[in-house]
Amino acid sequence: MESLVALNCTEHAVCPSPNASIWQDILAQAVTGELMAAMNYTALSTICHDPHEIAEAQEHAQGEQGHAATFAAEGRKIGLDVPSNINARYWKRIREAFMRCIAERDFIACLIIQEIMLESFAVASYTRVGKAGPGSLGQTFAAIAAEEEEHIGHALDILRVERARDPRQFDDKVYRLHLDVMTTLTQMVAKECRHGQCDLCHSSCVKPSLSEVGLTTAELRGASLQHYLRTLDALGLPGEVTLQWVAQLPV
């Protein structure tokens, strides 16, 4: 647990600590992810028929927008202007996958991408960052992780009902989306950005420096995949099948 504000700063100036640049890149990923989630929920509201569902999607969009603002505010507290880029390499691909489901007006596929895949990664990685992050920064990550976990719980209720109607068809759909979205997500949290930079790190890739703030890509990836597998278990998908799916992801 390091202090993010150097002690010899003048009273009003906020001097970032040597690790501030690492937190800037971590926050940039979080803000971008939340902004994309807000956009996804807004898009989802356009294909809902039930006024209650429309209102709920819009409410979720506002909530995710609020999370993005909270993360950005945490950055400002430590003297950082946190950037965001929804056209960043990996986020753009995920957004495109989501928008294909919107184009097909496939509400269930949208929920699977946003709630099962993206939120699993968000909850698991925010929880780890919450433990490593100093002071209010860590608390914010932990608190938002808890809120996202509630989203997953709500979505699971809807998706379980859907799976009960036709388990085989449902599982095939999850697998198709898994290949599309989880491949990108695992590339995003791979040990090295072999396929090119993520377009969010402000200088060099942050991954090799994560250990300086008590994090590693191995634990972020491991915890995210573990949460994803457990969420699929909770949906009722056979564990031996989802294990194969995860084992076949790129590294």
Partner: protein
């Protein structure tokens, strides 16, 4: 079970199985082999370093289905459930984490509807015979495999008595290693049917405690022919 494994299938779905086996990999080489099978032959194997990083995060779950056939042609369908205990985390420092992995594997077996679950060697050592550590078992029964071993031993003793023309009711049974899981199981099983029990334990204190328990259990041994002469005693 006296039969050959007829098939191992990683893709079949668990729709009620007869049995489940809970285990873990004992070396990173074995873990790498499991991951390689899961990835399939058409994908490049994962580097060892990647496997060591990913493996500990995998929750306990079925890895494959097993089908066995007896000599009489009876079939039984089962699951192999791996607790994904990392091979380098078997020592005491990880005991709580490992117990929770075994519990999760047990829960998986119960949810899969397995009628009987066998805990592998290390898993049963972790549970130490205290099945209360396992989750709500519904109709699933758990065994360490020792029960079957005891069954075979008791069957063997009965058979040899018949061959030698002796009756169990008139015999005193000597149990070597009576303080262990298998030895104590044999003692509990045979006590009602023999004239007396003698034990030669590997651990003296454990045996003394056992003898006390057998004596306390004596009134329940109704099938013993001559309870007034029944004796339990350790021999050194």
């Amino acid at each position: 079970m006296g039969g050959a494994i007829a098939g191992v299938n990683g893709r079949t779905r668990e729709t009620g199985v007869d049995f489940a086996l809970i285990g873990h990999q004992e070396s990173w080489r074995a873990a790498a082999d499991v991951v390689a099978v899961l990835r399939g032959a058409d994908r490049a194997p994962l580097p060892d370093e990647e496997i060591r990083e990913i493996f500990p995060w995998i929750p306990s779950r079925a890895v494959c289905h097993v089908e066995v056939r007896s000599a009489t042609g009876a079939k039984a369908r089962g699951l192999y459930i791996d607790s994904f205990i990392p091979p380098d985390r078997l020592d005491g420092a990880f005991v709580h984490d490992n117990i929770s992995r075994v519990r999760a594997a047990a829960a998986y077996a119960i949810n899969a509807g397995a009628k009987i679950v066998s805990l592998g060697g290390f898993s049963s050592i972790l549970i130490e015979g205290n099945f209360d550590q396992l989750p709500d078992r519904r109709d699933t029964v758990f065994t360490t495999g020792n029960t079957l071993t005891v069954g075979f031993i008791v069957q063997g003793v009965r058979k040899i008595c018949k061959i030698e023309g002796r009756t169990l009711r008139d015999s005193t049974l000597l149990i070597v290693g009576a303080s262990g899981d298998v030895g104590s199981g044999c003692a509990r099983c045979m006590a009602p049917f023999v004239n007396g029990l003698c034990s030669a334990p590997a651990i003296r204190t454990g045996c003394t405690c056992l003898l006390r328990n057998w004596k306390q259990a004596e009134p329940m041994c109704e099938s013993r022919p001559n309870s007034s002469t029944f004796r339990v005693e350790p021999i050194s």
